[in-house]
C-alpha cells in the first residue's frame, strides 16, 4: 500500500486506534440495525462512523480503505434516504466489508507486503445497493457529512458547543480564540490542520473549530483553522506549541468572548456528538500494568496508614496533652481520609463498563445463528455494569464459550421449536448486574435444556463416575457433570450431553479469578448459566480464620456456612469425619491438615469451628481454630521466588500488619476431592 508522503508514526498510531474504535462501533451498530431498521439515529451514527473512516483513511492516502468506506457510505445513504430497505443480504454485505476493513487496518499496523483484495467486498456492497444506485457511487462526497463543512468563515457553534461555552464561561476556565494560518505552499494542508487541531487538543479542550474535526478528517483542504479552546496554558504557550508545527504561517491567539448565548434549547441534537471531536482530548490511554502498580503502591500506603494511626494512638497514651502529639493526630486523621479517597479513586479508574466485553458478541451470535439456520433474538442488558478491567480481560473467553454453546446446542431449529409448541424465534439473554460486591453474568436461553439423565449416562459410559454413583446423583449434581474435564470431549455429533463443549475450561477460567459458575436447566424449556465474579482482582472479600499459628483468608464467595460442633459429636463414615449441615452430609478435614501441616489434637469435649466451603455442588468442611470477621483485603501475589504454592492464591497484609494466606479454594477442594463430585458422599438428604 502507498500512504501519503508525510504521515508520521504518530499520525498512524492515532489512525489505528481510531479505526479500531470505529470498526468496533460499526460492527455493533450494524448488527443492531438489522433488528431496528427504522432507527434513524442509529443509521445516522453508522453513517457518521463510516464517513469518519473514509475521511481519516483518505487523509492517510490509504486508498483501498477509503474506497471501501466510500462504497459502504453509498449503501448507507440509500438506507438513509429510504431508497433501499435494510435487508439481511445488505447487512451481510456491510459486515463483510467491516471484516475486510479490519484486515486492512491490521495490514497497516503490521505491513506484510501483501494487500487484501477488496473488490469482492465492494462488489457485494454494490450488489446490495442494487439497481437503485445510479451508476458508480462516485460523485457524491463529503457534502453529505452531518457535521456540515462550510467555508472557513466564523465558527458555527452547535447547541452542545454553546452549552459547553456557557458552562465554562461561568467558571474560571480560560477560553481562547485561536486562528492558525497554514502556509500556502504546503502539499498537505489537511494533515497540518489535523496536527494543529491535535496540538490544541493536547493543550486543552477544543470546543469548536472551523473547519470542523470531521471536515478535517475527511481531508478538506483549508489555509485557516479557527478554533475555540478551553485551556490552562497561556496565550504565549498556545502560540509557541502550535506555531512550532511544520508549515504553520502564523498563529493568532486572543481571549474568546462568548456572544450572548442564545437560549434555544440545547436538547437531544447535541447528544449524538458525544463520540466525536473534543471529548476525546480529555482521555488518556494508560497501560494496565501501570494501574496495577499504582494499586499495589496504594495497597502499601493503606497498610502504613493504619500503622501511623496505631503509632499515633500509642504516643497519645504516652504523652497526653502534648501539642505535637495532638497535631500528629490531626495530621494522621487527614492522611487516613486522603489515602482512603485515593484508594477509592484508583479503584474507580480501573473500573470499566462490562459492555466492553459484550461488544462484538451480538455480531458473533448473529453470524453463528445464521450459519446454523436458527432464529434468535439476542438480548443484552446491564452493559453499563462496572467491573475491574483485570476481570474483564479474563471473562471474555468463558462468555464466548457459553454463548456458542447456547446457540449451538441449546437453541433448537425453527421447525423443532414449532413442533414443540414454542415460538419460532428463540430468545437468548445476556444479563449483567451487581449483587453484594459481586458481578453476576447470566446467559439464558429458552431452548431444549439439558437432559440430565443423558448427561449421567454419558458420564458413566466414559468412566467418569460409576453407575451406582450416577444413580445417587440429584438433578443439581448431575448438571455439575458437564463441568468435568472428561465430559468436555462429548462428541458433538451425537449431542449426547447437549452441551459440555469446553465447559471445564469455562469453569477453570472462572475459578481462576475466584468466581463461580453454575448451571440450571429445565428440560425442554431453558438453560441458564450464571457466573458470579469478583468486582476486582485487586481486593477480595474474605473470611479470616486461624489454623494453628497461621492466619488464612477464605474468599467469601466460596463460604457456604460457618458452624461450631462438639468434637465428640462428629461421626465418621468410612474412616472419614463428616458433619451434617442443612440436610447435607459434608466431609470434614482440618485446614492445617489439608495443607499438610501439623495434625491438630482434638481433646474430647472441645469444640470444632468449621467453615463449610462450596465449589459447584461439592461441599467441604474445613475445621479451623478460630474465625473472625469477614473483610475486604488487598491481594498480593506470593512472589516469583516461592512460585505457585498449591492451595495458596496469594497473601495479604491486614491493617495491624498481620500476614494472611489467601486460600485458593478451587485448587484445595480439587486436590482433596480429586475423584470428582459423584464419588463424594454429599447430600444424602
Amino acid at each position: 500500500m502507498d500512504l501519503a508522503p508525510d504521515v508520521t508514526p504518530e499520525d498512524l498510531e492515532v489512525f489505528l486506534q481510531e479505526a479500531d474504535e470505529q470498526l468496533r462501533l460499526l460492527d455493533e451498530d450494524v448488527v443492531r440495525l438489522e433488528r431496528e431498521p427504522d432507527a434513524g439515529e442509529l443509521l445516522q451514527e453508522i453513517f457518521r462512523a463510516a464517513h469518519t473512516l473514509k475521511g481519516s483513511s483518505g487523509m492517510l492516502g490509504y486508498k483501498e480503505m477509503a474506497e471501501l468506506a466510500h462504497h459502504m457510505e453509498h449503501l448507507l445513504d440509500l438506507f438513509r434516504t429510504g431508497a433501499l430497505a435494510v435487508t439481511t443480504p445488505a447487512v451481510d454485505a456491510l459486515l463483510h466489508s467491516l471484516d475486510a476493513m479490519r484486515v486492512l487496518r491490521d495490514e497497516l499496523a503490521d505491513p506484510t507486503g501483501r494487500s487484501l483484495d477488496v473488490s469482492a467486498a465492494m462488489a457485494e456492497l454494490a450488489q446490495a445497493a442494487g439497481a437503485s444506485a445510479e451508476g458508480e457511487p462516485g460523485a457524491k462526497d463529503a457534502g453529505s457529512a452531518p457535521a456540515g463543512a462550510g467555508p472557513a468563515a466564523p465558527i458555527v457553534l452547535g447547541p452542545a458547543a454553546r452549552e459547553r461555552i456557557a458552562d465554562l464561561a461561568s467558571g474560571d476556565a480560560q477560553l481562547l480564540a485561536v486562528d492558525v494560518h497554514i502556509s500556502a505552499d504546503t502539499i498537505w494542508s489537511s494533515v497540518r490542520l489535523f496536527q494543529a487541531l491535535q496540538a490544541l487538543g493536547d493543550l486543552g479542550e477544543v470546543i469548536a473549530s472551523e473547519p470542523s474535526q470531521s471536515a478535517i478528517d475527511s481531508g478538506a483542504p483549508s489555509q485557516l483553522l479557527r478554533a475555540i479552546v478551553s485551556t490552562r496554558s497561556s496565550e504565549d504557550d498556545v502560540r509557541r506549541e502550535v506555531g512550532g508545527l511544520d508549515d504553520i504561517a502564523g498563529v493568532e491567539v486572543e481571549p474568546y468572548v462568548p456572544e450572548a448565548v442564545a437560549k434555544d434549547a440545547p436538547d437531544a441534537a447535541g447528544a449524538g456528538q458525544r463520540r466525536t471531536g473534543a471529548g476525546r482530548t480529555q482521555t488518556v490511554r494508560i497501560d494496565v500494568a501501570r494501574l496495577d502498580e499504582l494499586m499495589n503502591q496504594i495497597g502499601e500506603l493503606v497498610i502504613d496508614r493504619t500503622r501511623i494511626v496505631q503509632i499515633g494512638k500509642a504516643l497519645e497514651q504516652r504523652y497526653k496533652g502534648d501539642d505535637m502529639v495532638e497535631a500528629l493526630g490531626e495530621t494522621s486523621a487527614h492522611i487516613v481520609k486522603v489515602v482512603d479517597e485515593l484508594q477509592e479513586s484508583t479503584r474507580q479508574v480501573r473500573m470499566q463498563p462490562i459492555g466492553t466485553v459484550f461488544s462484538g458478541l451480538p455480531r458473533m451470535v448473529r453470524d453463528l445463528s445464521h450459519k446454523m439456520g436458527k432464529k434468535l433474538d439476542f438480548q443484552v442488558s446491564g452493559s453499563e455494569t462496572e467491573i475491574d478491567r483485570t476481570v474483564i480481560e479474563r471473562i471474555r473467553d468463558p462468555l464466548i464459550h457459553l454463548l456458542r454453546n447456547a446457540v449451538d446446542h441449546g437453541v433448537e431449529l425453527p421447525e423443532e421449536r414449532i413442533a414443540a409448541g414454542k415460538p419460532e424465534t428463540a430468545v437468548l439473554k445476556l444479563r449483567a448486574y451487581q449483587e453484594q460486591g459481586h458481578i453476576v453474568i447470566v446467559v439464558e436461553d429458552d431452548g431444549r435444556g439439558i437432559d440430565t439423565e443423558r448427561v449421567k449416562a454419558a458420564a458413566v459410559k466414559k468412566g467418569l463416575i460409576s453407575a451406582e454413583a450416577g444413580a445417587r446423583l440429584t438433578e443439581a449434581q448431575a448438571i455439575e457433570l458437564i463441568f468435568l474435564p472428561g465430559a468436555s470431549t462429548a462428541e458433538k455429533t451425537t449431542e449426547v450431553s447437549g452441551r459440555g463443549v469446553g465447559m471445564d475450561i469455562v469453569r477453570s477460567n472462572v475459578e481462576a479469578i475466584n468466581g463461580l459458575v453454575t448451571a440450571e436447566t429445565v428440560l425442554g424449556q431453558s438453560t441458564r448459566m450464571t457466573l458470579k465474579l469478583p468486582l476486582t482482582l485487586a481486593t477480595l472479600h474474605a473470611l479470616l480464620v486461624r489454623a494453628g499459628t497461621t492466619h488464612y483468608a477464605i474468599p467469601l464467595v466460596y463460604v457456604w456456612e460457618t458452624t461450631v460442633r462438639n468434637a465428640d459429636e462428629i461421626p465418621t463414615i468410612a474412616g472419614r469425619e463428616v458433619i451434617r449441615v442443612r440436610d447435607a452430609v459434608v466431609p470434614l478435614t482440618s485446614l492445617s491438615e489439608a495443607f499438610g501441616l501439623s495434625r491438630a489434637e482434638h481433646a474430647a469435649g472441645s469444640v470444632r469451628q468449621v467453615v463449610v466451603v462450596r465449589l459447584g455442588e461439592r461441599l467441604l468442611g474445613l475445621s479451623v481454630d478460630a474465625f473472625s470477621e469477614s473483610q475486604e483485603i488487598v491481594v498480593k501475589p506470593l512472589g516469583g521466588f516461592l512460585g505457585d504454592v498449591k492451595g495458596i492464591g496469594g497473601v495479604s497484609v491486614l491493617g495491624d500488619g498481620q500476614v494472611v494466606l489467601i486460600v485458593d479454594i478451587p485448587s484445595l477442594v480439587n486436590s482433596i476431592m480429586a475423584r470428582g463430585p459423584a464419588e463424594e458422599p454429599v447430600a444424602v438428604a
Binding site: 497498610i303 497461621t550 501441616l597 516461592l642 512460585g643 498449591k646 497473601v651 486436590s671
Partner: protein
C-alpha cells in the same frame, strides 16, 4: 549482580552462622532487620520459614542454617534477617548474627578452590583471610534462587484428607 567497588576495595556484610564467618557484597543487601513474626507457608521446602511483612511488602524468609545443612538452634537476641535483593526480588535470610561491615582489598579475595567444600558450593565465590580468620564470600543469589526453583518443582502433591 551489583557489586559495590570502592577503588580496589569491596565492602562485605559479614555474618555468623554456626561459628563460621560469611560475607556478602554490601550492594546486594537491602537491609538488616531483627527477627520478627514469620507466617508459615504450607507446602514449601523445610528451610523456607515463611513470609514476613516488611513495611507492607510480603517477602519470603529462609533459614540459612537449614539451607546449608547446619545444626538448627533456637533463635537468640542476636538473630537477624538479612534482606537481600535477588534478581529484583527481596528475600530474607536468617543468620545467627551480623558482626560487621568489612572493607577488603579486591586482591585479598582468593578463589574458593583452596577450601574444601561440598559439591553444590558454586555459591561460594571467594575467601578472605583476616589474620587467623576466614570469611567465606557468598553469592546468595546462587545459593537461594536456582536450587530453590528446582526444589519447588519437586514438591509433593497435596496430602489427601
Amino acid at each position: 549482580m551489583a557489586e559495590q567497588v570502592v577503588g580496589s576495595e569491596r565492602q562485605l556484610v559479614v555474618f555468623n552462622l554456626s561459628g563460621g564467618a560469611y560475607g556478602v557484597d554490601i550492594g546486594t543487601v537491602r537491609e538488616i532487620i531483627r527477627m520478627q513474626e514469620i507466617t508459615q507457608i504450607p507446602r514449601t521446602p523445610q528451610h523456607v520459614e515463611g513470609v514476613i511483612n516488611l513495611r507492607g511488602r510480603v517477602i519470603p524468609v529462609l533459614d540459612l542454617r537449614k539451607r546449608f545443612g547446619l545444626e538448627v538452634t533456637e533463635y537468640t537476641q542476636d538473630t537477624r534477617i538479612v534482606v537481600v535483593d535477588i534478581g529484583g526480588t527481596d528475600i530474607g535470610a536468617i543468620v545467627d548474627e551480623v558482626t560487621e561491615v568489612l572493607r577488603v582489598a579486591v586482591d585479598s579475595i582468593e578463589p574458593p578452590s583452596d577450601v574444601v567444600l561440598g559439591d553444590d558450593s558454586d555459591y561460594v565465590v571467594g575467601v578472605v583471610k583476616l589474620g587467623e580468620h576466614l570469611v567465606i564470600l557468598l553469592e546468595l543469589a546462587r545459593a537461594l534462587s536456582e536450587d530453590e526453583r528446582a526444589l519447588m518443582g519437586q514438591l509433593e502433591p497435596v496430602a489427601a484428607a
